[in-house]
Amino acid sequence: MSMNFESFNNFEIDVLREIGNIGAGNAATALAKMLNKKVDMEIPKVKIMEFKEVNEMLGGAEQPVVGIFLKMTGDLTGSILLILESGAARTLVDILMGKNDCDNKCTFDEIEMSALKELGNILAGSYISSLSTLTGLNIMPSVPDIAVDMAGAIISVPAIEFGKLGDSVLYIETAFIQGDTRVLGDFFLVPDMDSYEVLLRALGVIN
């Protein structure tokens, strides 16, 4: 089955937005519990972007970002990647660890990396569990792995998977708001090639 995001109709985009909405909603709730603070979110945007434009996202391909990556197994196989701009990740870690010295460092020590990994685990985990509830599919997340590096290099991981199918990437942009801080997160949901049909069928998009 070939997949072409450019030809997705409004209904299919709506379905994906709804997945993003519910997933991000759950993620925001989980984040609020973890931070013990009120967390709001904006309505997620479904974005479809050609490879040549990918370099412009997240403030440029060389911008340091935090990528948290999990594999999905079960009825649906594939991977999920959450990208946080490194400044935003810094803010989250500082809130989480009760620090106030926001010196905008884009490097993280071992404990901070571990905290970020846990954060990603909870965000991606709640995302996967809502996808699982919505579709009735049994989906299990793996232990997450984390990388802090150039945006382009991190996005190349899901982009390559999308590249096997077409010439664009599809992702869901979510903004979390905590107090005066707005944190942008991008979710890349990358089902394996055979899993697209499973996913769209489970959602009733195709018969």
Binding site: S2, F51, K52, E53, V54, N55, G60, A61, E62, P64, G67, F69, K71, S79, T107, S142, D145, A147, V148, D149, M150, A151, G152, A153, I154, I155, S156, V157, A159, I160, E161, G163, K164, L165, G166, D167
Partner: protein, 161 residues
Amino acid sequence: MDNIIKVGMADMQVARHPAMLTTLGLGSCVGIALFDRTTGIVGLAHCMLPDSSQSKNVTNIAKFVDTALEALVERMVGLGANRGKIIAKLAGGAQMFNFSQSTDLMRIGFRNVTAAKQKLEQLKIPLVSEDTGGNYGRTIVLDSATGILQVKTIGYGVKEI
């Protein structure tokens, strides 16, 4: 430095002296830099996948190592490059995330680099240097005056190959 031409993801460009070619944030993708010293003609491709024959969708030839490399050489020759004088340098092909189960997705960087080496050999283009593998991203700049490929990273320094 206003003569820098950007090469995007799944993209390729050729240029002549004094232009520079650059591609930003190479991860598991491989950057293939070609240089002909005799004419100062350079080519740079940012490829995502090793082999076009494995894909049903080959609308963008720059996406695949095999088709991009062939086309890149042709375009350089079209600009006046001397086919027998072209040399190659490689960068990228990292594994950004580590997982115990090494699936295809995880090994894609290594496969991209291997495919590039095989194709270079087939085209009889000597590979003079490389900075590949590892688990970090790279930005590369190819200088048409010297053929030097500058590799920049976050936390792993800058080098010239």
